[in-house]
């Protein structure tokens, strides 16, 4: 009797074929209306010259691309975006890996580190920008005061970190690393913890030293998560806006201008929505490269 109800139930399970679609429908509506449609609409807008506040749109074909995507300002911010995303990936990988390997050891104090490590990651970029901006500021900034007291600089305002054309992007990148590395650290820590001790023991019996144990035991296990975190993080940093906006607004001049801040200025300082749309299309295409690599890797892993 019980078996029969079970069988009936299974049939029922199949009849409910529309149910899962109903359940995912709201999420699809959100994704389509705030992500997919805007990207399509943005590509459409990029062929027009709508100026904020003025009614009507003039079709101008590829002119936005010709004029704004080849402009020195655009190329300058593209270069900065690549530098800043590349620097954040590199610095973030080193920091995250170090922190993950550290927390994977057994010693006193690691639980406290585990307890606080995510804090920079959960704090808003605005707060991070305000606080680090204050630490790096000129005469009253904490860093310059420390350097001055240690006698490492002659005058307290010898180095104006965030107004220095050569340093500003580097400092911003370091702050982005500070904010981003905890995520990689905890994800990679979880991977490290899943590697059975026996593998290390076997490697040690075979005479592998510390480096070789990392190279042949740890790295193959870690690699998938390592690559994925960096792609996701890289895409996020590449397109990010808030941290640099709060720290420098792209300044001094345009020395820390990245694509997102440039985009904002074109749209809301110059009121050129069409041109801004063209810039976001290019950003989208660059991000698409990240996405294709990402999907290729996640898929290959499963196959």
């Amino acid at each position: 009797m019980k078996k029969m109800t079970r069988v009936a139930q299974r049939g029922n399970w199949r009849k409910e074929s529309i149910v899962p679609y109903l359940y995912i429908l709201p999420s699809l509506v959100v994704v389509i209306s705030v992500l997919i449609l805007p990207i399509l609409y943005g590509s459409y807008l990029s062929f027009f010259d709508p100026i904020l506040g003025i009614k009507g749109m003039k079709f101008i074909g590829l002119l936005n691309y010709k004029k704004f995507v080849t402009s020195p300002e655009f190329l300058n911010s593209l270069k900065h975006s690549l530098q800043w995303a590349g620097g954040a990936i590199l610095g973030g990988s080193i920091m995250s890996l170090m922190a993950a390997m550290l927390m994977n050891e057994r010693y006193r104090g690691r639980n406290f580190l585990r307890g606080v490590i995510l804090i920079p990651w959960v704090i808003s970029a605005v707060t991070v920008g305000l606080v680090w901006g204050w630490i790096f500021s000129g005469s009253y900034g904490l860093l310059n005061n420390i350097l001055w007291r240690l006698g490492m600089v002659k005058n307290i305002d010898d180095i104006l970190w965030l107004s220095n054309p050569k340093l500003v992007l580097l400092i911003c990148t370091a702050i982005a690393v500070w904010r981003g590395f905890p995520f990689g650290a905890i994800v990679w820590l979880a991977t490290l913890e899943s590697i059975p001790d026996q593998l290390y023991e076997a490697a040690q019996i075979d005479g592998a030293n510390r480096f070789n144990r990392f190279r042949y035991v740890t790295w193959p296990e870690l690699k998938p998560a390592f690559v994925l975190v960096n792609i996701v993080g890289g895409a996020a940093v590449f397109n990010s806006f808030d941290l640099i906006w709060v720290l420098t607004k792209g300044g001094p001049l345009r020395y820390s201008e990245i694509l997102a801040t440039h985009l904002y200025k074109v749209a809301f300082w110059d009121f050129r929505i069409g041109a801004a749309a063209a810039i976001s299309v290019i950003m989208f295409l660059i991000t698409l490269i990240f996405a294709v690599v990402f999907l290729y890797l996640t898929h290959r892993k499963e196959a």
Partner: protein, 279 residues
Amino acid sequence: MLEKEGGLTRQIFLSSITGVLISLILGPFYWMVVTAIRNVNEVTTLPVKFFPRLFSLAGFRDLFGVGGLVWMKNSFILASFTLLFSLLIVIPAAYAVSRFNFPGSRVYLIILLAIRLFPGALTVIPLYKALHTLGLLDNYPALIFTYLGLSIPIPILILQTFFHSIPRELDEQAMIDGCSRLQVIWRIIIPVSLPGIIAIGTYIFIVAWNEFMYPLIFLQSDKLKPLQVGIAGLTAYYGPEIYIDRMAGATFSVVPVIILFLCFNKYLQKGLTSGALKE
């Protein structure tokens, strides 16, 4: 890894790296709070003292004077509604993915995975233009709707891994006992996977609380500003007071996040590591 737990040199070495790392993580927050509660004269007296002697709440007074409490209230409204609607969307979606092998479920998951790579900056211009045309700028429901695009994809991925670990027999048994699907979700799935719900709830609230670009662009009235936009806008004032005002604002914006974090850190870490990278 393999080394024995003992070894004083090893312990000292690891502890000192940890000490450096922890001060790097927490140091800025110490400086933020110290500046926020300091007398403004102490901020500009060189050399700057690392421990405060003269205290003042002028920073907070200034902050409340320009609308800090209203911004905070706005942030709570935005984050709470985003949390509510996100959960209503995320829970059924994660349930569907974990329980039904429906055609298209893989494509759906792949879309969710890929979406994380396309952050707000790519859609903000067309969204702005669309909201402008529809007359929906300066409108909370519209703003919350755009927040959902940021807040639901990752939680669906995280939560479905939690749901996967609940045996299907529980659902089946409950349905034999006469429960509908929604009752199964409400009475069994949600209580059993509460750690997962807490993890994504924390994540969603923090995402909404921290969002800056959308409200900066989609809102126009001062009285609708959330905290992040408000404190970032404090840059408009000058004089040394700006430092204590900004740090008061920063402290103010961090407190709810830190409270949530301290309560739910374990769940959040587990959620992020279990679902962040998997389908």
